[in-house]
Amino acid sequence: MAAVSRMGIFLGLDASALAEVLAAATLATAQAGEAYVCQGDPAHRFYLLVSGRVRLSQVTPEGQQVVMRFIAPGEEFGIVAILGRLPYPVTAEAVEPAVALAWSGEAFNRLILRHPQIGLNGMAMLAERVREFQDRLREAGTQRVERRVANGLLRLARQAGRSVAEGVLIDLPLSRQDLAEMTGTTLFTVSRTLAGWEERGIISSARKRVTLLQPHALVAVAEDLPEG
């Protein structure tokens, strides 16, 4: 329960409210590559990731898969379920073994009505998500591709970064294709950009893990700062 009480959406709830929240939840596990929800399916369940990583992606009408974001422990997905009668807009797939708490949309709505703090916390989380998507929209519209890739890596580092001896490790399995889809560019461009940064010692990548060796140099690219 201690871990759940630290999750953003349940901040400020007392022990009895948390017990009620947990009693209404079921545990949902997924292996790497297994989907929690599929785009277009009726949205019945709302999830909160406890461990592992989940990738949200969407297939466009033209058939192109676009990675929307990665979900880290403590973050929610499938919130559309609480609105009822809507399909999931994205596919949520575990990229490593994952455990999530799940509630039916109706059950979660009842919890919100009984404990309005959950609703307020949820709004704060969604506001943060909207801000992130606004930033990405601006980047996609205005920035040259190298800045978009730098911003993509910084965003992932902020979300899933971990300090290690060499710098900041983005602690999720991240393919170049994922990064291309996240930043609205091509695999070729991402590969070329990352190779250039690796040569300059700004990042290193191995086994689908990227480490920012010089975070400041990446910020300089992303923010178009003068070269040091």
């Binding site: 970064g161 710098g167 900041v168 920012l212 400041h216 910020v219 300089a220 003068p226």
Partner: protein, 83 residues
């Protein structure tokens, strides 16, 4: 000026949350640290390296700023070597 608890190993985000006035120093030095997403990862030692300022100088100036003695209120000091 040496400030109790201010060390080169402190991360920028911790410095800013503990001494919000330190923001003035980073801005006066034209550093991109305020609002930077990497502020939770970079310590002051890394900042000194990135901006090519001797760490002792950065610590002294930052300490002065926190103590209200660095000329942050007046004209903005250009960073050395255009950094």
């Amino acid at each position: 000026m040496a400030i109790d608890g201010l060390t080169a190993d402190l991360r920028v985000a911790d410095v800013l949350s503990r001494w919000p006035v330190a923001m003035r120093y980073f801005m006066a030095r034209r550093m991109a640290c305020v609002g930077c997403s990497m502020a939770v990862f970079c310590n002051l030692r890394a900042v000194a390296l990135d901006y090519r300022i001797p760490i002792d100088q950065l610590m002294a100036e930052l300490g002065d700023c926190i103590a209200g003695q660095f000329p942050c209120e007046g004209p903005i000091e250009p960073a050395p070597d255009g950094a």
